[in-house]
Symmetry: C2
Subunit: 356 residues, 2 copies
Amino acid sequence: MSANETPASHQPPAATRDSAFLRACRREPVPHTPVWFMRQAGRSLPEYRKVREGIGMLDSCMRPDLVTEITLQPVRRHGVDAAIYFSDIVVPLKAIGVDLDIKPGVGPVVEQPVRSRADLARLRDLTPEDVPYVTEAIGRLTSELGPTPLIGFAGAPFTLASYLVEGGPSRTYENAKAMMYGDPELWADLLDRLAGITAAFLKVQIEAGASAVQLFDSWAGALAPADYRRSVLPASAKVFEAVAGYGVPRIHFGVGTGELLGLMGEAGADVVGVDWRVPLDEAARRVGPGKALQGNLDPTVLFAPREAVEAKTREVLDSAAGLEGHVFNLGHGVMPATDPDALTRLVEYVHTRTAR
Amino acid sequence: MSANETPASHQPPAATRDSAFLRACRREPVPHTPVWFMRQAGRSLPEYRKVREGIGMLDSCMRPDLVTEITLQPVRRHGVDAAIYFSDIVVPLKAIGVDLDIKPGVGPVVEQPVRSRADLARLRDLTPEDVPYVTEAIGRLTSELGPTPLIGFAGAPFTLASYLVEGGPSRTYENAKAMMYGDPELWADLLDRLAGITAAFLKVQIEAGASAVQLFDSWAGALAPADYRRSVLPASAKVFEAVAGYGVPRIHFGVGTGELLGLMGEAGADVVGVDWRVPLDEAARRVGPGKALQGNLDPTVLFAPREAVEAKTREVLDSAAGLEGHVFNLGHGVMPATDPDALTRLVEYVHTRTAR
């Protein structure tokens, strides 16, 4: 099978294909604007904190029972239009043997940062056998979810590289950028290798039953457009190209990427995610025709009273009025202190307000 | 004297007025593109770390001898075209009695965050008598600096409010935004009060001899344009209007403000600072005619080899070719681990490459 043939066996059932979420991704008419939230499965939910009690983040990502439960929680509670597979962007790196951990209150920490060509050898290819829990959890999920689509996800090569090179979270990415500017060949080889791993990880999810995928380039917004185009886009494009044949919608998101929206679409996305800084009509102008948009309520709005949330939501919906396809989301992940009831009300509000 | 009359006594001497920096700010022809660096006075310099040894940040800001020495250090070492007054954006708040401190490795921490109308009473007006060390240090500086201009500075109302409402540094500004969305009147009153304090602080600096001012709205980039226009711009405009009569160039900068550049110009800036994410020619399109631009080399580029620094510097200069006025700077502050020699070489490179 060539990469560009559609493997019919991986098509989702008709009811899923016809869901508001997948229709919006394909820019088809929808009964209402579909809604899901980045980090909808996570710390804002008491039922999540309960099942995670005493279990490390990476351990929880490798337990199909927990992944299934956590992924389903926001679907049950909020009635969102899509589930997103519960995982972390460093899971595929852990799966191929990179010595890393997710430290509470810190984030992913890599024992030995990648700084030289010799370090690349530690990044071997990923096979489905490396992540059996993914296949198992997605099998369970698709049967439990019924027609609700499941979004698979992975971190993009730049964002993974930023953790690997810095050795942990960073606000400046000074080591990663020093490599990008100072040793462009090593940098390109690192990103190309990460693209292969990311593509393989997304393929596992699609073949197990995910009916859309989102590539998170969380920190790409730290890059100037010329640097993104030259040093990052080729690797992200390789990921999207590798999964093009499955025909599932491919979403691409990063925070603070106002200047990169056009390039992130060019990389091969069907849906471009937008943070709250760029109004959706302006984002559509930058992305150009032929792509849906996802976004973009400021997640901090949810700390304001209900009337303020509704007013800001109307602003988002108004700016989305002319879009070819719109998936409502926050402009970044749900913040841990968010009141879950505010999220439930928001789903209802968008559904009611956009019912056709 | 009305606010819009030019008090001739505060005009800098002719040699200063004719400096490359002030000429570029006024969009007049220059012998070379002037260069200075945000945070040029600070942790990247060993001579700075030496004089600061054992002295807290706020204490050092209140000692005219130290302020003078620290402000001069980068001028001596790098030959930059302007000095920037060494201070911290919370100094005027401390001066009016707000109980705050700058904790090493953390940032400004406010003992009792501002959350209610009653809390506003703690923010009284600032008078020159509250900051005698500023007047004294600037007096010393202008005589030591000779024709090199001194830039005064202050934090903008939004950024000050973010510290006051959050109680410290934040990545999300959830409390500040909750007030902005949920209690717009209290928010507007808070920002208006901060605008008065900021304007008074800038006036002290100008009257003591600063020949330009920069308003740092460091965190404004967290706001969507509609929110900035409605809830922040009026206060920043009040600050700029209050110092308009002095005729000194007014610079306005925040990081991640690509979507706000036009509005930050509209607020009353003569020079709009641009971070590295937006190429300067695109920034000029957003800001419109009649304003100079400042920026915008990615500060992390300085961790790369010399050839890479020069190549990226040429990209900045090329994108600035059509500007009415250009002040070369980094797109954010100098990072602490930066090699000072790389900064000195960068000043020389820009001067040589742009010599007319």
